[in-house]
Amino acid sequence: MIIESISVKGFKSLNNVTFEPGNVNVFIGANGAGKSTILEAIGVLSAAMTDRVDNSSLDRKGIRLSTPSLYKSSFRDTKKNPTIGFQIQWKDGQDQITYDVNLNNPNDDSAWRYHSEALYRNQEKLWGRSGNSQVQYDNRVGMLMLAQEVQLGIIKASAEQLKDYAIYQPSTPILRGISPDKYQATPLGLCGGRLAEAIEELLHTDEDGDMKFGDLYIDEVLELVDWAANFSVAAPKKSSINSAVPTSRRVIEFQDKFMREKDRFTAYDASEGSLYVLFLLCLAMHEKSPNVFAVDNFDQAMNPRLARATTRLFCEIIKKRNKTAFITTHNPLVLDGLKLNDPAVRLFTVERSKNDGTAQIKRIEVTDELISLDQPLSRLWINGRLGGVPNLL
């Protein structure tokens, strides 16, 4: 699934926006600009197309559950949209596929109702429904649950790639394995649950006898986790974790570069930045992780330079695996990890219009000439050239 464009109308601060994503899409902007709302809008779109939109489906995707009236855009000086609308276009082989949906969200907590829904291949309508359709479908269930195989054909497989979309927001206690993840999922919970198991599934020895972590040699990972000599996954042992600390069935064990070889400690005692790195790499590389996903606050707990190096590696993996990631960040050095001359990697600013408060999304493109003038992206962002900064000192 190569997503070509996403449009949102009437959802929270996204009154009417369209953007064209690549494989890695980074959103920057002031606090409250609407970055997380973009990730949520894609989540609602995913639920609408592949399942249904209700509290349960939204919660599973990591979307904040709002009161019904807060989902719909409501700006003082702007006409209110009667429905909340989404459109996604993607490439399926040579074909351009368009899915269009308009939803009514009721005033109670019941499922959202489908006002209209349609699927097109190269502008030719393959399936659709509205209040005027001859065939009446359940108006609380979306296309992939309703349409017959014969109507969707091979498009169904590509549309299903959006089914597992979720917003990941790892948190330290869950990555350390001492708190349960409310958002359980396979291979990783949305807050970092199952990290040890996911790492174990990725660790293997290749045919040459070299230790690998997914696509990467273990040494490539250890460049990012540079205080560690090695890491592995094992059952918790008294020698590696205090018996008073609650643990999961499997724990990540680290060997410090400067400690004696036999000494090991677990994620409970390890640097949290390293756990976030391992989490992001698992998400990018694991066969069972979603093909399309989002990470809110990508750079959490990382030193700026670690964030830069992790971003660089993350982009390479996502592109190689042809996945699509939507991420938000407040760390300028994350931008220096982006190769913006590669169309697969895209940077967007999100800002609220001072006229009416609606969120605006702009793609940022930068020439190599400008970068060569000792103007790295981080600097351009901090000094205001890219936008996406509050007017503060």
């Binding site: 800002e351 219009s353 001072k354 006229n355 605006q360 702009k362 793609r363 940022i364 493109e365 930068v366 020439t367 000439e369 400008l370 003038l373 103007q375 351009l380 901090i382 000094n383 205001g384 050239r385 890219l386 936008g387 900064v389 509050p390 007017n391 503060l392 000192l393």
Partner: protein
């Protein structure tokens, strides 16, 4: 939507100019706050020194700076308050080039010379507001040799004078020294708008700005730089 870069002494200045541009054009713009910097340390410094340093650093490469990233910048606004002309010796360094060996050798803000010959008020200019504006505009615009020339604005005595011109019928709004302290925040409120602690906060400024836009014609009549700004914005955009 036009993209406008703001190189200003402080964030309240860009708030004002941004709102006025929207008023003049009657359309929304995308503002880029280039100076003062949003970084914690503010590498170029803040206030008038920051504006001057930004011009020094970016003047030669302004064309690439404006065009080298998308969205491109349609216009850059440089703002320095006119009070700098009467208060700061450094901006008059070139006027005393014959009397100082260091003049021209070192950027005046970095000059450490102890027996600086500059005397203020500097008598080597045309008198009045027009002399001040012309001198500071020439000083700042001398750093831009390329195709794109910023709009250089020298509100006198400061941007706050536009607030006074919007609220009060003074004929000499531009010649009032330090209008914020001497007029606007002198009492607890100014024309019914509270100014807590005499501070120029965003909340307070945001209450004055709509009145400046509403009375823009009066502001233009009373402040020559407001009229210049209106003309420059309308002509270029």
């Amino acid at each position: 939507m036009k993209t406008i870069g703001f190189v200003c002494e402080g964030p309240r200045d860009s708030d004002m100019l941004e709102a006025v541009i929207r008023h003049i054009l009657n359309e929304d713009i995308t503002p880029l706050y280039l100076q003062p910097e949003a970084s914690l340390d503010g590498e170029n410094g803040n206030g008038w020194k920051g504006v001057w340093t930004w011009c020094l650093k970016n003047g030669n490469t302004l064309d690439q700076y404006m065009q080298g990233a998308i969205p491109k910048i349609d216009m850059i606004i440089i703002q320095m308050d006119g009070d700098v002309f009467r208060k700061e010796r450094e901006v008059h360094c070139a006027c005393y080039a014959d009397e100082c060996a260091a003049s021209g050798e070192v950027f005046p803000l970095n000059c450490k010379i102890e027996d600086c010959p500059v005397v203020i008020p500097c008598g080597q200019h045309e008198a009045g507001i027009s002399g001040c504006v012309e001198y500071l505009q020439n000083l700042l615009l001398s750093y831009f040799p390329g195709q794109y020339i910023p709009v250089c604005l020298i509100p006198c005595d400061s941007t706050d004078a536009w607030i006074v011109a919007a609220f009060d019928d003074f004929e000499d709004s531009e010649t009032i020294a330090d209008p914020w302290n001497n007029i606007i925040s002198k009492k607890k409120d100014y024309h019914g708008i509270r100014v807590p602690g005499h501070k120029k906060t965003k909340t307070v400024y945001d209450k004055f700005i709509p009145v400046v836009c509403q009375n823009w014609e009066s502001v233009k009549n009373r402040c020559s730089q407001a009229a210049y700004f209106d003309h420059a914005i309308s002509a270029v955009l």
